[in-house]
Assembly symmetry: C2
Homo-oligomer: 154 residues x 2
């Protein structure tokens, strides 16, 4: 409990500081949305966030979720992922990592690959422009989708 409390205060403090730096206010909605993103590793969409927060915040509206993820993204607190379908997903994990995308369920898992990160980028890239970042995207079928199709309850 003490540890969670510590982390929680860290998040709150960090959010407040970053937001204040941009002249932005720390609201209940922003805190809740950011906490939900921090706690999830499922790269939720706005709709996902809305649905998961609704029980505890009945007055929350979906457009606030959209506005807030935009705000948090511009503030550099979260990152927008590239999308395979037409839905934007977000990630509060800012540490450098790669992605494994399941082509069947479209779920995204974070992958750490240190060996790659020290691999030199091709010099031919220079002619295209200045590289700021570099991320590997693996595609395939995740273990859940791979499992033989049983009755969901079995």
């Amino acid at each position: 409990m003490a540890i969670d409390q510590c982390q929680e205060e860290g998040i709150l403090e960090r959010l407040r500081t970053v937001l204040a730096g941009g002249g932005l206010r720390l609201t209940q909605q922003r805190l809740s949305i950011y906490r939900a993103l921090e706690a999830s590793s499922a790269h939720p969409s706005c709709e996902d966030l809305f649905q998961s927060l609704r029980p505890s915040m009945p007055s929350l509206s979906i457009d606030t979720v959209y506005r807030t993820v935009g705000t948090l993204e511009q503030a550099g607190m979260i990152r927008k992922l590239v999308s395979l379908d037409g839905v934007q997903r977000y990630d509060a994990n800012l540490a450098h990592h790669h992605h494994f995308v399941c082509e069947r369920c479209l779920g995204v898992s974070d992958i750490v690959w240190d060996a790659f990160d020290t691999f030199p980028v091709p010099e031919s890239l220079a002619k295209w422009g200045t590289v700021r970042s570099c991320q590997v995207e693996f595609r395939g079928v995740c273990v859940k989708c791979e499992a033989p199709d049983r009755m969901s309850g079995a």
Copy 2:
């Protein structure tokens, strides 16, 4: 001219074969849309394709473009790209390659990186599922956007 003619017949033949294999017809619209995708390296969106084909096919409708790229994608003739904004882009270049995405203009360039393609993937991936493909996405600023902002005409 003879060479273009050859390629052209190759495309036509290949399209016809692939479509026929799926019980699909080779129509003027499908041919034109596929040709436009083959000829472009700019990874056009449906709207881009529609605009570029309209002069030569005034009766073409945008929904046919949407249906056709879906058809071509399922037939395995073209590939859908991941998107940074909310717009889907397509690519007829099926050869394995990577991408350099300009964060300013959102343009996508194809990158060949043989050295990477033989690099072993991390073994920890196995626990997530079966990897089917693997692509590197570089992000940065392209040379065009990097150039000092001059008058566009200068």
